[in-house]
Protein backbone atom coordinates (compact mmCIF):
# COMPACT_ATOMS: atom_id res chain seq x y z
CA UNK A 1 0.00 0.00 0.00
CA UNK A 2 1.20 3.52 -0.79
CA UNK A 3 1.90 5.89 2.09
CA UNK A 4 2.33 9.58 2.85
CA UNK A 5 3.24 11.36 6.07
CA UNK A 6 0.12 12.92 7.59
CA UNK A 7 2.21 15.83 8.84
CA UNK A 8 2.97 16.65 5.21
CA UNK A 9 -0.56 16.43 3.87
CA UNK A 10 -0.18 19.94 2.51
CA UNK A 11 2.52 18.83 0.10
CA UNK A 12 0.35 15.89 -1.06
CA UNK A 13 -2.43 18.34 -1.83
CA UNK A 14 0.04 20.58 -3.64
CA UNK A 15 1.26 17.66 -5.75
CA UNK A 16 -2.30 16.71 -6.75
CA UNK A 17 -3.34 20.31 -7.33
CA UNK A 18 -0.36 20.88 -9.60
CA UNK A 19 -2.10 18.80 -12.27
CA UNK A 20 -5.81 19.30 -11.62
CA UNK A 21 -8.29 21.02 -9.36
CA UNK A 22 -8.51 19.53 -5.89
CA UNK A 23 -11.40 19.78 -3.46
CA UNK A 24 -10.99 18.92 0.21
CA UNK A 25 -13.36 19.11 3.18
CA UNK A 26 -12.32 22.32 4.90
CA UNK A 27 -13.78 24.66 7.47
CA UNK A 28 -15.66 27.24 5.46
CA UNK A 29 -18.12 29.97 6.39
CA UNK A 30 -20.52 28.43 8.89
CA UNK A 31 -19.82 24.76 8.32
CA UNK A 32 -17.27 22.42 6.76
CA UNK A 33 -17.60 22.15 2.99
CA UNK A 34 -15.78 20.65 0.03
CA UNK A 35 -13.57 23.58 -0.92
CA UNK A 36 -11.20 24.23 -3.79
CA UNK A 37 -7.72 23.67 -2.38
CA UNK A 38 -5.30 26.54 -2.45
CA UNK A 39 -1.94 26.62 -0.61
CA UNK A 40 -2.49 26.84 3.12
CA UNK A 41 -6.00 25.32 3.15
CA UNK A 42 -6.16 22.42 5.56
CA UNK A 43 -8.63 19.62 6.24
CA UNK A 44 -11.47 20.20 8.66
CA UNK A 45 -11.36 18.35 11.97
CA UNK A 46 -15.06 17.59 11.60
CA UNK A 47 -16.10 14.09 10.59
CA UNK A 48 -18.02 15.23 7.53
CA UNK A 49 -19.12 18.29 5.59
CA UNK A 50 -22.40 20.10 6.30
CA UNK A 51 -23.60 19.64 2.75
CA UNK A 52 -22.77 16.44 1.01
CA UNK A 53 -20.25 15.75 -1.74
CA UNK A 54 -23.07 15.56 -4.30
CA UNK A 55 -22.56 19.31 -4.89
CA UNK A 56 -19.50 18.50 -6.99
CA UNK A 57 -21.48 16.37 -9.45
CA UNK A 58 -24.92 17.91 -9.12
CA UNK A 59 -24.38 21.53 -8.13
CA UNK A 60 -27.15 23.47 -6.41
CA UNK A 61 -27.50 25.70 -9.47
CA UNK A 62 -26.25 24.88 -12.93
CA UNK A 63 -26.71 26.58 -16.28
CA UNK A 64 -28.06 24.26 -18.99
CA UNK A 65 -28.35 26.36 -22.11
CA UNK A 66 -28.74 29.96 -23.24
CA UNK A 67 -31.21 31.50 -25.65
CA UNK A 68 -31.22 34.68 -27.62
CA UNK A 69 -34.62 35.95 -28.66
CA UNK A 70 -35.13 38.62 -31.29
CA UNK A 71 -38.67 39.27 -32.42
CA UNK A 72 -40.19 35.88 -33.18
CA UNK A 73 -36.83 34.19 -33.62
CA UNK A 74 -35.06 32.03 -31.05
CA UNK A 75 -31.41 31.07 -31.08
CA UNK A 76 -30.11 28.22 -28.90
CA UNK A 77 -26.59 28.84 -27.61
CA UNK A 78 -24.27 26.71 -25.53
CA UNK A 79 -24.55 27.63 -21.89
CA UNK A 80 -22.97 24.79 -20.02
CA UNK A 81 -19.84 25.11 -17.98
CA UNK A 82 -16.79 23.31 -19.37
CA UNK A 83 -15.73 20.67 -16.86
CA UNK A 84 -12.04 19.95 -16.26
CA UNK A 85 -10.49 16.98 -14.51
CA UNK A 86 -10.70 17.30 -10.75
CA UNK A 87 -9.98 15.34 -7.59
CA UNK A 88 -12.13 15.16 -4.47
CA UNK A 89 -10.20 14.14 -1.41
CA UNK A 90 -11.69 13.03 1.89
CA UNK A 91 -15.05 11.69 0.75
CA UNK A 92 -16.52 9.48 3.46
CA UNK A 93 -17.88 5.99 2.70
CA UNK A 94 -21.47 7.19 3.03
CA UNK A 95 -21.10 10.02 0.53
CA UNK A 96 -19.20 7.71 -1.80
CA UNK A 97 -22.17 5.31 -1.79
CA UNK A 98 -24.45 8.23 -2.58
CA UNK A 99 -22.68 8.54 -5.93
CA UNK A 100 -23.90 5.03 -6.81
CA UNK A 101 -27.45 6.10 -5.98
CA UNK A 102 -27.19 9.31 -7.99
CA UNK A 103 -25.65 7.28 -10.84
CA UNK A 104 -28.74 5.05 -10.88
CA UNK A 105 -30.85 8.10 -11.64
CA UNK A 106 -28.65 10.36 -13.74
CA UNK A 107 -26.74 7.74 -15.73
CA UNK A 108 -29.78 5.64 -16.61
CA UNK A 109 -31.15 6.14 -20.10
CA UNK A 110 -31.40 8.92 -21.22
CA UNK A 111 -28.09 9.88 -19.61
CA UNK A 112 -27.87 13.29 -17.96
CA UNK A 113 -24.75 14.57 -19.71
CA UNK A 114 -24.15 17.39 -17.23
CA UNK A 115 -23.85 14.93 -14.36
CA UNK A 116 -22.02 12.35 -16.50
CA UNK A 117 -19.45 14.95 -17.53
CA UNK A 118 -18.56 15.73 -13.94
CA UNK A 119 -18.50 12.08 -12.94
CA UNK A 120 -16.13 11.17 -15.75
CA UNK A 121 -13.79 14.07 -15.00
CA UNK A 122 -13.59 13.31 -11.27
CA UNK A 123 -11.21 11.14 -9.32
CA UNK A 124 -12.72 10.30 -5.95
CA UNK A 125 -10.35 9.80 -3.02
CA UNK A 126 -12.25 8.48 -0.04
CA UNK A 127 -11.18 8.58 3.58
CA UNK A 128 -11.96 5.81 6.04
CA UNK A 129 -13.77 6.76 9.25
CA UNK A 130 -12.43 5.96 12.69
CA UNK A 131 -14.43 8.27 14.95
CA UNK A 132 -18.10 8.19 13.88
CA UNK A 133 -20.80 10.44 15.26
CA UNK A 134 -23.79 9.14 17.22
CA UNK A 135 -25.99 9.99 14.24
CA UNK A 136 -24.05 7.71 11.88
CA UNK A 137 -25.85 4.59 10.61
CA UNK A 138 -24.13 3.73 7.32
CA UNK A 139 -23.40 0.21 8.60
CA UNK A 140 -27.18 -0.42 8.69
CA UNK A 141 -27.13 0.14 4.95
CA UNK A 142 -24.35 -2.32 4.28
CA UNK A 143 -21.61 0.30 4.07
CA UNK A 144 -18.26 -0.34 5.72
CA UNK A 145 -17.00 3.07 6.89
CA UNK A 146 -13.52 1.61 7.35
CA UNK A 147 -13.32 0.32 3.79
CA UNK A 148 -14.67 3.14 1.66
CA UNK A 149 -14.94 2.69 -2.11
CA UNK A 150 -13.92 5.35 -4.66
CA UNK A 151 -11.05 5.56 -7.12
CA UNK A 152 -8.55 5.73 -4.26
CA UNK A 153 -9.29 4.62 -0.69
CA UNK A 154 -7.33 6.33 2.07
CA UNK A 155 -6.79 5.60 5.75
CA UNK A 156 -5.32 8.10 8.19
CA UNK A 157 -3.71 6.03 10.94
CA UNK A 158 -1.26 7.30 13.52
CA UNK A 159 1.17 9.48 11.56
CA UNK A 160 0.55 7.97 8.13
CA UNK A 161 -1.92 8.27 5.29
CA UNK A 162 -2.33 4.92 3.52
CA UNK A 163 -3.55 5.04 -0.07
CA UNK A 164 -4.90 2.23 -2.21
CA UNK A 165 -6.05 2.60 -5.83
CA UNK A 166 -9.27 0.75 -6.74
CA UNK A 167 -9.67 1.85 -10.35
CA UNK A 168 -7.51 2.72 -13.35
CA UNK A 169 -8.22 6.37 -12.71
CA UNK A 170 -7.06 5.99 -9.11
CA UNK A 171 -3.99 4.11 -10.25
CA UNK A 172 -3.15 6.87 -12.71
CA UNK A 173 -3.45 9.49 -9.99
CA UNK A 174 -1.21 7.62 -7.56
CA UNK A 175 1.32 6.95 -10.35
CA UNK A 176 1.49 10.68 -10.97
CA UNK A 177 2.67 11.18 -7.37
CA UNK A 178 6.14 9.62 -7.46
CA UNK A 179 7.15 10.61 -3.92
CA UNK A 180 4.72 8.11 -2.32
CA UNK A 181 6.16 5.65 0.15
CA UNK A 182 5.32 2.00 0.65
CA UNK A 183 3.97 0.40 3.81
CA UNK A 184 1.55 -2.03 5.41
CA UNK A 185 -1.63 -0.59 6.87
CA UNK A 186 -2.18 -1.66 10.50
CA UNK A 187 -5.39 -3.52 11.40
CA UNK A 188 -8.38 -1.23 11.81
CA UNK A 189 -10.43 -1.37 14.98
CA UNK A 190 -14.17 -1.68 14.32
CA UNK A 191 -15.29 -1.78 17.96
CA UNK A 192 -16.49 1.83 18.04
CA UNK A 193 -18.89 1.13 15.15
CA UNK A 194 -20.39 -1.77 17.05
CA UNK A 195 -21.33 0.59 19.86
CA UNK A 196 -23.20 3.09 17.67
CA UNK A 197 -26.82 3.56 18.81
CA UNK A 198 -28.28 3.25 15.29
CA UNK A 199 -26.21 0.34 14.05
CA UNK A 200 -29.06 -2.17 13.96
CA UNK A 201 -31.67 -0.44 11.80
CA UNK A 202 -33.44 -2.80 9.41
CA UNK A 203 -34.01 -1.38 5.94
CA UNK A 204 -34.60 -4.76 4.33
CA UNK A 205 -38.27 -4.89 5.38
CA UNK A 206 -39.37 -2.33 2.80
CA UNK A 207 -38.98 -4.77 -0.07
CA UNK A 208 -41.03 -7.42 1.68
CA UNK A 209 -44.48 -5.87 1.40
CA UNK A 210 -46.36 -4.28 -1.51
CA UNK A 211 -45.86 -0.57 -2.04
CA UNK A 212 -49.44 0.24 -1.05
CA UNK A 213 -49.04 -1.38 2.38
CA UNK A 214 -46.35 1.18 3.23
CA UNK A 215 -48.20 4.00 1.49
CA UNK A 216 -51.37 3.33 3.50
CA UNK A 217 -49.57 2.94 6.83
CA UNK A 218 -51.33 4.76 9.67
CA UNK A 219 -48.06 6.37 10.81
CA UNK A 220 -47.89 9.10 8.14
CA UNK A 221 -50.43 11.39 9.81
CA UNK A 222 -48.63 11.71 13.11
CA UNK A 223 -45.10 11.59 11.67
CA UNK A 224 -45.79 14.41 9.25
CA UNK A 225 -47.81 16.53 11.63
CA UNK A 226 -44.97 18.75 12.79
CA UNK A 227 -43.02 18.85 9.51
CA UNK A 228 -42.39 22.49 8.64
CA UNK A 229 -41.76 21.76 4.98
CA UNK A 230 -38.48 23.68 5.22
CA UNK A 231 -36.60 21.30 2.93
CA UNK A 232 -33.44 21.21 5.10
CA UNK A 233 -33.39 17.42 4.88
CA UNK A 234 -33.41 17.42 1.10
CA UNK A 235 -30.82 20.19 1.00
CA UNK A 236 -28.23 18.27 3.04
CA UNK A 237 -29.18 14.81 1.77
CA UNK A 238 -26.50 13.21 -0.41
CA UNK A 239 -29.08 11.23 -2.39
CA UNK A 240 -31.85 13.82 -2.92
CA UNK A 241 -31.75 14.58 -6.61
CA UNK A 242 -35.02 16.32 -7.51
CA UNK A 243 -34.52 19.44 -9.53
CA UNK A 244 -36.33 22.38 -11.03
CA UNK A 245 -35.70 23.97 -14.44
CA UNK A 246 -36.23 27.71 -14.70
CA UNK A 247 -35.40 30.54 -17.07
CA UNK A 248 -33.66 33.77 -16.13
CA UNK A 249 -34.31 36.55 -18.59
CA UNK A 250 -31.23 38.73 -18.49
CA UNK A 251 -32.32 40.86 -21.43
CA UNK A 252 -29.74 40.07 -24.11
CA UNK A 253 -29.50 36.43 -23.04
CA UNK A 254 -32.02 34.13 -21.42
CA UNK A 255 -30.37 31.50 -19.28
CA UNK A 256 -32.09 28.17 -18.67
CA UNK A 257 -30.76 26.70 -15.47
CA UNK A 258 -31.61 23.89 -13.15
CA UNK A 259 -31.48 24.05 -9.40
CA UNK A 260 -32.18 21.74 -6.50
CA UNK A 261 -35.83 21.43 -5.60
CA UNK A 262 -37.61 19.65 -2.79
CA UNK A 263 -40.63 17.37 -2.72
CA UNK A 264 -41.26 18.89 0.72
CA UNK A 265 -42.27 22.20 -0.87
CA UNK A 266 -45.92 23.01 -1.50
CA UNK A 267 -45.36 24.21 -5.06
CA UNK A 268 -43.28 21.18 -6.10
CA UNK A 269 -46.16 19.52 -7.92
CA UNK A 270 -48.36 22.62 -8.33
CA UNK A 271 -50.00 22.80 -11.75
CA UNK A 272 -52.37 25.33 -13.28
CA UNK A 273 -55.32 23.31 -11.99
CA UNK A 274 -53.92 22.51 -8.53
CA UNK A 275 -51.61 20.03 -6.86
CA UNK A 276 -51.85 16.27 -6.44
CA UNK A 277 -50.06 16.44 -3.06
CA UNK A 278 -52.17 19.06 -1.29
CA UNK A 279 -50.96 18.76 2.33
CA UNK A 280 -47.62 18.30 4.04
CA UNK A 281 -48.62 14.70 4.80
CA UNK A 282 -48.52 13.77 1.10
CA UNK A 283 -45.28 15.64 0.55
CA UNK A 284 -43.61 14.15 3.62
CA UNK A 285 -44.78 10.67 2.64
CA UNK A 286 -43.48 11.15 -0.89
CA UNK A 287 -39.95 11.88 0.35
CA UNK A 288 -39.69 8.81 2.55
CA UNK A 289 -41.58 6.48 0.23
CA UNK A 290 -39.16 7.53 -2.48
CA UNK A 291 -36.08 6.72 -0.40
CA UNK A 292 -37.37 3.50 1.15
CA UNK A 293 -39.73 2.00 -1.45
CA UNK A 294 -39.95 3.72 -4.84
CA UNK A 295 -36.21 4.08 -5.51
CA UNK A 296 -35.43 0.51 -4.40
CA UNK A 297 -38.30 -0.80 -6.55
CA UNK A 298 -36.82 0.89 -9.60
CA UNK A 299 -33.15 0.19 -8.87
CA UNK A 300 -32.68 -3.42 -7.83
CA UNK A 301 -33.36 -2.90 -4.14
CA UNK A 302 -30.95 0.01 -3.68
CA UNK A 303 -32.19 2.03 -0.66
CA UNK A 304 -32.08 5.78 -1.27
CA UNK A 305 -30.23 6.51 1.96
CA UNK A 306 -26.57 6.17 2.95
CA UNK A 307 -26.83 6.65 6.70
CA UNK A 308 -24.72 9.83 6.82
CA UNK A 309 -26.93 11.22 9.57
CA UNK A 310 -27.07 14.78 8.22
CA UNK A 311 -30.88 14.92 8.33
CA UNK A 312 -30.77 13.75 11.94
CA UNK A 313 -28.56 16.70 12.78
CA UNK A 314 -30.30 19.36 10.71
CA UNK A 315 -34.05 18.80 10.99
CA UNK A 316 -35.48 21.62 13.14
CA UNK A 317 -38.19 19.35 14.55
CA UNK A 318 -35.98 16.26 14.94
CA UNK A 319 -37.91 14.20 12.44
CA UNK A 320 -35.80 11.98 10.22
CA UNK A 321 -35.56 8.82 8.15
CA UNK A 322 -34.54 6.72 11.17
CA UNK A 323 -37.73 7.58 13.04
CA UNK A 324 -39.80 7.07 9.89
CA UNK A 325 -38.24 3.70 9.06
CA UNK A 326 -38.73 2.46 12.64
CA UNK A 327 -42.34 3.67 12.81
CA UNK A 328 -43.21 2.15 9.43
CA UNK A 329 -41.73 -1.17 10.43
CA UNK A 330 -43.60 -1.21 13.73
CA UNK A 331 -46.79 0.20 12.18
CA UNK A 332 -47.07 2.84 14.88
CA UNK A 333 -45.52 6.26 15.36
Amino acid sequence: MKTWKLSELDSLFAAIAAAQKLYIPADAAGQPAFTLWTPGLSMTKALNTGRSAKDLFFPQVENLVNFKVSGRRIQVEPGREEVEDFVIFGVRACDCRSFDILDSVFLSDPVDTFYADRRSHATVMTLACSEPEETCFCTSLGIDPQAPAGDVSCWAMEDTLYLEANTEKGQALLSSLPQLGQGEKPQTDASVFHRLPLKDLDFSVFGEKPLMDWFNSPVWDSLSQSCLGCGSCTFVCPTCQCYDVEDFDGGATIRRFRCWDSCMYSDFTMMAHGTNRPTQKERFRQRFMHKLVYHPNNHAGQIGCVGCGRCLQKCPISMNIVKVAKALKEGKA
Binding site: I74, M212, F215, Y243, M271
Partner: protein, 277 residues
Protein backbone atom coordinates in the same frame (compact mmCIF):
# COMPACT_ATOMS: atom_id res chain seq x y z
CA UNK B 1 -22.06 21.26 -31.62
CA UNK B 2 -21.52 18.38 -29.24
CA UNK B 3 -21.83 20.38 -26.03
CA UNK B 4 -25.45 21.11 -26.93
CA UNK B 5 -26.33 17.44 -27.06
CA UNK B 6 -28.25 16.79 -23.86
CA UNK B 7 -31.84 15.60 -23.66
CA UNK B 8 -32.71 18.77 -21.72
CA UNK B 9 -31.57 21.02 -24.58
CA UNK B 10 -34.41 21.73 -27.00
CA UNK B 11 -34.47 22.41 -30.72
CA UNK B 12 -36.04 25.48 -32.25
CA UNK B 13 -39.32 24.93 -34.06
CA UNK B 14 -41.79 27.12 -35.90
CA UNK B 15 -45.51 27.61 -35.34
CA UNK B 16 -47.00 27.76 -38.84
CA UNK B 17 -50.72 27.78 -38.09
CA UNK B 18 -53.00 28.44 -35.14
CA UNK B 19 -56.61 27.31 -35.13
CA UNK B 20 -59.06 28.57 -32.54
CA UNK B 21 -61.05 25.52 -31.47
CA UNK B 22 -63.00 26.81 -28.51
CA UNK B 23 -63.00 29.97 -26.38
CA UNK B 24 -60.01 28.57 -24.43
CA UNK B 25 -58.44 25.94 -26.72
CA UNK B 26 -56.21 26.58 -29.70
CA UNK B 27 -54.48 24.05 -31.91
CA UNK B 28 -50.90 24.87 -32.90
CA UNK B 29 -49.24 23.44 -35.98
CA UNK B 30 -45.48 23.05 -35.47
CA UNK B 31 -42.65 22.23 -37.90
CA UNK B 32 -38.87 22.23 -37.66
CA UNK B 33 -36.86 25.16 -39.01
CA UNK B 34 -36.35 23.07 -42.17
CA UNK B 35 -40.12 23.10 -42.68
CA UNK B 36 -40.43 19.38 -42.01
CA UNK B 37 -42.08 17.41 -39.22
CA UNK B 38 -39.65 17.78 -36.30
CA UNK B 39 -39.99 14.28 -34.79
CA UNK B 40 -41.72 10.92 -35.18
CA UNK B 41 -44.00 9.78 -32.37
CA UNK B 42 -46.42 7.13 -31.19
CA UNK B 43 -50.03 8.19 -30.49
CA UNK B 44 -50.23 9.27 -26.86
CA UNK B 45 -46.66 10.51 -26.60
CA UNK B 46 -45.91 14.06 -25.50
CA UNK B 47 -43.40 16.79 -26.18
CA UNK B 48 -41.98 19.73 -24.25
CA UNK B 49 -42.85 23.09 -25.76
CA UNK B 50 -41.30 26.23 -24.41
CA UNK B 51 -40.69 29.88 -24.90
CA UNK B 52 -37.39 30.96 -23.36
CA UNK B 53 -38.06 33.36 -20.53
CA UNK B 54 -41.66 32.21 -20.15
CA UNK B 55 -41.30 28.53 -19.32
CA UNK B 56 -41.46 24.99 -20.58
CA UNK B 57 -44.38 22.59 -20.31
CA UNK B 58 -45.38 19.15 -21.51
CA UNK B 59 -48.20 18.72 -24.04
CA UNK B 60 -49.61 15.67 -25.74
CA UNK B 61 -49.12 15.52 -29.48
CA UNK B 62 -52.61 15.63 -30.90
CA UNK B 63 -51.77 14.96 -34.54
CA UNK B 64 -51.49 11.39 -35.75
CA UNK B 65 -48.07 9.91 -36.60
CA UNK B 66 -49.56 9.24 -40.02
CA UNK B 67 -49.49 12.97 -40.64
CA UNK B 68 -46.16 13.30 -42.46
CA UNK B 69 -45.89 17.06 -42.53
CA UNK B 70 -46.20 18.56 -39.06
CA UNK B 71 -47.08 18.10 -35.38
CA UNK B 72 -50.20 19.55 -33.80
CA UNK B 73 -50.82 20.45 -30.19
CA UNK B 74 -54.29 21.33 -28.87
CA UNK B 75 -53.69 23.51 -25.84
CA UNK B 76 -56.07 24.91 -23.28
CA UNK B 77 -55.31 28.33 -21.89
CA UNK B 78 -54.86 27.77 -18.18
CA UNK B 79 -51.42 28.82 -16.96
CA UNK B 80 -48.23 30.72 -17.64
CA UNK B 81 -46.90 28.98 -20.76
CA UNK B 82 -50.37 28.38 -22.22
CA UNK B 83 -51.37 32.03 -21.76
CA UNK B 84 -48.29 33.02 -23.74
CA UNK B 85 -49.05 30.45 -26.46
CA UNK B 86 -52.58 31.76 -26.81
CA UNK B 87 -51.23 35.25 -27.45
CA UNK B 88 -48.80 34.38 -30.27
CA UNK B 89 -49.34 34.44 -34.03
CA UNK B 90 -48.15 32.11 -36.81
CA UNK B 91 -44.50 32.68 -37.63
CA UNK B 92 -43.49 32.57 -33.97
CA UNK B 93 -40.61 30.26 -33.06
CA UNK B 94 -40.80 28.04 -29.98
CA UNK B 95 -38.52 25.37 -28.58
CA UNK B 96 -39.36 21.72 -28.71
CA UNK B 97 -37.99 18.47 -27.29
CA UNK B 98 -39.30 14.93 -27.19
CA UNK B 99 -41.16 12.78 -27.89
CA UNK B 100 -41.67 11.46 -24.37
CA UNK B 101 -43.56 8.62 -22.77
CA UNK B 102 -44.83 5.24 -23.84
CA UNK B 103 -47.86 6.07 -25.99
CA UNK B 104 -50.89 3.87 -26.56
CA UNK B 105 -50.38 0.23 -27.65
CA UNK B 106 -51.81 0.92 -31.10
CA UNK B 107 -49.68 -1.70 -32.82
CA UNK B 108 -50.07 -4.42 -30.19
CA UNK B 109 -52.95 -4.61 -27.68
CA UNK B 110 -55.35 -2.50 -29.76
CA UNK B 111 -54.95 -4.51 -32.98
CA UNK B 112 -58.14 -6.38 -33.90
CA UNK B 113 -60.10 -4.83 -31.00
CA UNK B 114 -63.37 -2.92 -31.05
CA UNK B 115 -62.33 0.44 -29.65
CA UNK B 116 -64.36 2.75 -27.46
CA UNK B 117 -62.90 6.23 -27.03
CA UNK B 118 -64.23 8.35 -24.17
CA UNK B 119 -63.11 11.95 -23.87
CA UNK B 120 -64.10 15.00 -21.87
CA UNK B 121 -63.16 18.57 -22.80
CA UNK B 122 -59.49 19.02 -23.68
CA UNK B 123 -59.12 15.28 -22.94
CA UNK B 124 -59.78 14.76 -26.63
CA UNK B 125 -56.31 16.14 -27.47
CA UNK B 126 -54.27 12.97 -26.77
CA UNK B 127 -57.05 10.70 -28.09
CA UNK B 128 -57.31 12.52 -31.42
CA UNK B 129 -53.84 11.19 -32.27
CA UNK B 130 -55.00 7.61 -31.63
CA UNK B 131 -58.36 8.07 -33.37
CA UNK B 132 -56.78 9.41 -36.54
CA UNK B 133 -54.10 6.71 -36.46
CA UNK B 134 -56.81 4.06 -36.17
CA UNK B 135 -58.83 5.69 -38.98
CA UNK B 136 -55.72 5.66 -41.19
CA UNK B 137 -55.12 1.96 -40.52
CA UNK B 138 -58.84 1.17 -40.49
CA UNK B 139 -58.49 -2.50 -41.46
CA UNK B 140 -56.38 -3.36 -38.41
CA UNK B 141 -59.09 -2.57 -35.89
CA UNK B 142 -62.73 -3.50 -35.27
CA UNK B 143 -65.51 -1.00 -34.72
CA UNK B 144 -64.78 2.47 -33.37
CA UNK B 145 -67.09 4.32 -30.98
CA UNK B 146 -66.27 7.80 -29.79
CA UNK B 147 -68.05 9.37 -26.84
CA UNK B 148 -67.05 12.99 -26.46
CA UNK B 149 -68.48 15.56 -24.11
CA UNK B 150 -67.82 19.19 -23.28
CA UNK B 151 -69.42 21.97 -21.26
CA UNK B 152 -71.11 23.42 -24.37
CA UNK B 153 -71.13 23.03 -28.12
CA UNK B 154 -68.55 25.82 -28.33
CA UNK B 155 -66.22 23.86 -26.02
CA UNK B 156 -66.03 20.79 -28.27
CA UNK B 157 -62.46 20.64 -29.59
CA UNK B 158 -61.93 19.65 -33.24
CA UNK B 159 -65.70 20.02 -33.87
CA UNK B 160 -65.28 20.56 -37.63
CA UNK B 161 -63.06 17.51 -38.05
CA UNK B 162 -65.50 15.45 -36.00
CA UNK B 163 -68.48 16.50 -38.13
CA UNK B 164 -66.79 16.50 -41.53
CA UNK B 165 -64.65 13.39 -41.16
CA UNK B 166 -65.26 11.18 -38.13
CA UNK B 167 -69.07 11.22 -38.32
CA UNK B 168 -69.02 10.35 -42.03
CA UNK B 169 -66.71 7.37 -41.78
CA UNK B 170 -67.95 3.79 -42.03
CA UNK B 171 -67.44 1.78 -38.88
CA UNK B 172 -66.98 4.92 -36.76
CA UNK B 173 -69.82 6.05 -34.52
CA UNK B 174 -69.59 9.38 -32.76
CA UNK B 175 -71.66 10.14 -29.65
CA UNK B 176 -71.44 13.81 -28.68
CA UNK B 177 -72.84 15.31 -25.52
CA UNK B 178 -72.81 18.70 -23.81
CA UNK B 179 -73.44 19.49 -20.15
CA UNK B 180 -76.44 21.81 -20.56
CA UNK B 181 -79.12 22.35 -23.24
CA UNK B 182 -78.56 25.17 -25.69
CA UNK B 183 -80.74 26.47 -28.59
CA UNK B 184 -78.58 25.32 -31.52
CA UNK B 185 -77.95 21.81 -30.17
CA UNK B 186 -80.19 18.85 -30.95
CA UNK B 187 -77.76 16.21 -29.74
CA UNK B 188 -77.45 14.52 -26.36
CA UNK B 189 -77.30 16.60 -23.19
CA UNK B 190 -75.71 15.28 -20.02
CA UNK B 191 -72.40 14.31 -18.44
CA UNK B 192 -70.06 11.80 -20.05
CA UNK B 193 -70.22 9.11 -17.30
CA UNK B 194 -74.03 8.94 -17.47
CA UNK B 195 -74.04 8.97 -21.26
CA UNK B 196 -71.60 6.04 -21.36
CA UNK B 197 -73.92 4.09 -19.07
CA UNK B 198 -76.98 4.97 -21.16
CA UNK B 199 -75.23 3.81 -24.32
CA UNK B 200 -74.63 0.42 -22.63
CA UNK B 201 -71.70 -0.59 -24.82
CA UNK B 202 -70.78 -4.18 -25.52
CA UNK B 203 -68.30 -5.22 -22.83
CA UNK B 204 -65.90 -6.78 -25.32
CA UNK B 205 -64.59 -3.36 -26.29
CA UNK B 206 -61.21 -1.90 -25.37
CA UNK B 207 -61.69 1.51 -23.77
CA UNK B 208 -59.38 4.49 -24.30
CA UNK B 209 -60.28 7.31 -21.96
CA UNK B 210 -59.03 10.81 -21.21
CA UNK B 211 -60.59 13.70 -19.38
CA UNK B 212 -60.66 15.47 -16.04
CA UNK B 213 -59.97 13.17 -13.04
CA UNK B 214 -63.59 13.41 -11.87
CA UNK B 215 -64.85 12.23 -15.28
CA UNK B 216 -62.37 9.33 -15.30
CA UNK B 217 -63.46 8.28 -11.82
CA UNK B 218 -67.22 8.26 -12.49
CA UNK B 219 -66.90 6.84 -16.00
CA UNK B 220 -64.77 3.98 -14.73
CA UNK B 221 -67.39 3.21 -12.08
CA UNK B 222 -70.06 3.19 -14.79
CA UNK B 223 -68.00 0.95 -17.05
CA UNK B 224 -67.46 -1.50 -14.20
CA UNK B 225 -71.23 -1.52 -13.60
CA UNK B 226 -71.71 -2.40 -17.27
CA UNK B 227 -69.30 -5.30 -16.81
CA UNK B 228 -66.03 -3.90 -18.14
CA UNK B 229 -62.83 -4.99 -16.42
CA UNK B 230 -60.09 -2.49 -15.49
CA UNK B 231 -57.60 -4.28 -17.74
CA UNK B 232 -59.75 -3.27 -20.73
CA UNK B 233 -59.44 0.43 -19.93
CA UNK B 234 -56.51 2.67 -20.89
CA UNK B 235 -56.03 6.25 -19.87
CA UNK B 236 -53.36 8.91 -20.06
CA UNK B 237 -52.20 11.13 -17.20
CA UNK B 238 -50.73 14.54 -16.86
CA UNK B 239 -48.76 15.73 -13.85
CA UNK B 240 -46.27 18.50 -13.20
CA UNK B 241 -43.02 17.80 -15.04
CA UNK B 242 -39.74 19.62 -15.48
CA UNK B 243 -37.45 17.15 -17.25
CA UNK B 244 -39.76 14.54 -18.86
CA UNK B 245 -36.79 12.16 -18.51
CA UNK B 246 -37.62 10.44 -15.21
CA UNK B 247 -35.06 12.43 -13.23
CA UNK B 248 -36.48 15.70 -11.86
CA UNK B 249 -38.60 13.65 -9.47
CA UNK B 250 -42.04 15.22 -9.50
CA UNK B 251 -44.43 13.37 -11.85
CA UNK B 252 -44.31 10.04 -10.07
CA UNK B 253 -47.39 8.09 -9.03
CA UNK B 254 -45.84 5.66 -6.57
CA UNK B 255 -42.79 4.14 -8.23
CA UNK B 256 -43.98 4.98 -11.75
CA UNK B 257 -42.97 8.15 -13.54
CA UNK B 258 -45.75 9.52 -15.73
CA UNK B 259 -43.20 11.00 -18.14
CA UNK B 260 -41.32 7.78 -18.73
CA UNK B 261 -43.43 4.82 -17.58
CA UNK B 262 -46.63 6.60 -18.74
CA UNK B 263 -48.40 8.79 -19.61
CA UNK B 264 -50.52 5.87 -20.80
CA UNK B 265 -51.54 3.39 -18.12
CA UNK B 266 -53.98 0.50 -18.08
CA UNK B 267 -56.31 1.03 -15.16
CA UNK B 268 -55.61 -2.34 -13.55
CA UNK B 269 -51.98 -1.19 -13.19
CA UNK B 270 -53.20 1.89 -11.30
CA UNK B 271 -54.90 -0.26 -8.68
CA UNK B 272 -51.43 -1.08 -7.25
CA UNK B 273 -50.45 2.58 -7.08
CA UNK B 274 -51.33 5.54 -4.85
CA UNK B 275 -54.26 7.75 -5.74
CA UNK B 276 -51.96 10.78 -6.14
CA UNK B 277 -53.14 12.13 -9.47
Amino acid sequence: MSILRDPLIPMVALVTDIRTDTPDVKTFRVVGLDGKKPMEHIPGQCAMLSMPGVGEALFSITSSPTNADYLEFSIKKCGCVTNWLHAIEPGQQVTLRGPYGNGFPVDTDFVGKDLLFIAGGIGLAPLRSVINYVRHHRGRYGSVDIVYGARSKEDLVDYDEILQQWCREDGVTVHLTIDNPQPDWDGHVGFVPNYVKELAFDTGKTVVMCGPPVMIKFTLAGLEELGFRRDQVYTTFELKMKCALGKCGRCNIGDKYVCKDGPVFRLDQMAQLPDEY
